[in-house]
Symmetry: C2
Subunit: 224 residues, 2 copies
Amino acid sequence: MTTANFVPTPHTTLKRLPQRGFYEREAVYAILDEAFICHVGFVVDGRPLVIPTSFARSGDELYLHGSAASRMLRALSGAVSVCVTVTLVDGLVLARSAFHHSINYRSVVIFGQAALIEDLEQKRRALEAFTEHVIPGRWAEVREPNEQELKATSVLALPLAEASAKIRTGGPKDDEEDYTQPVWSGVLPLLTVTGAPEADEYTPAAMPVPAYVLQYDRKKLTNE
Amino acid sequence: MTTANFVPTPHTTLKRLPQRGFYEREAVYAILDEAFICHVGFVVDGRPLVIPTSFARSGDELYLHGSAASRMLRALSGAVSVCVTVTLVDGLVLARSAFHHSINYRSVVIFGQAALIEDLEQKRRALEAFTEHVIPGRWAEVREPNEQELKATSVLALPLAEASAKIRTGGPKDDEEDYTQPVWSGVLPLLTVTGAPEADEYTPAAMPVPAYVLQYDRKKLTNE
């Protein structure tokens, strides 16, 4: 992985609130590594389409995958411009005035063109990286994809070349004259947690839940 | 609010996995009411742009808002095609084969054109609906927007006319011959919870945290 930071472009430069923009590769990758759902935007017949899907980062590439028959995968494999956006919501920012309410969040926007990974062995490695991004520890336990499954799966690699992060943290910023309003103000943190794992009917009752399931915690997924 | 269901269009009809598609207004609105973050897709100079932002539903309209100076708000107020996607992630679906791993989710995709709300009183009511969508109970406590703040805020209304939901629930579907694999399989539920509210430095220590903050629970936000 390269350590060079992203170079702001007209598409990734924040015009308003520039203090919320981050171009350090580390900052961008920390958000990508904590998340696993992205929203993929592309243009079909001049109209925008935004599809939620899972993703993985490996080095300086972002992987998308899906059925080879999926409309999105087929559209994106044709060297078209794509915008991939990843968003983590950290809390509600409650101010004394309606106007100054906000949301604490960390987001990444990536622009580029994705390319199909055709080679089956490369595809297998990308799918391993994919599974390990979503739930580290899982790949070693499960049956690996066979050739038919590999062929039925399309994997796209999007180079992480034009990207930026946008981050808001901290409490509300009220107007000076509003600080005396008798209104509880601050941040209500929001976080994603796991519920109790639900074994399916074919899993023997005596089979222990794996540690990587019990201890699943995306906050702990660090950068390479 | 109308009770008529959405009519599938070429853009909202699921071609693959049609059993995951839902066109009932109630199903779509239940997802919109539990969520408050959407991803807005639009086309700028032929390229896709996807921006995360908060939203509110009121009746058969979806509201977006932001600074009147924001690029997104200015772009969308010009009668352009927009795609708004809302996604709730409910869990990781862990199968015995890598191939059959999946994610339980509920998403909504909306297509249309948004229109600026120009009338200040209408805008004020939309912002009230907005605040009450994100955190019910808050509007009555805070200082309402003044005329200058109303003018600095753009509110867009997107008619809920062309929309559909996509929902996956339940456990993994493995290939018959894989059910004997000795791999723990099932669902790891993921949910969004609140952390301890963090009062800001101007909130008196003796001021109680409001009940609507302490009991914040998006799952309880029901339809009209």
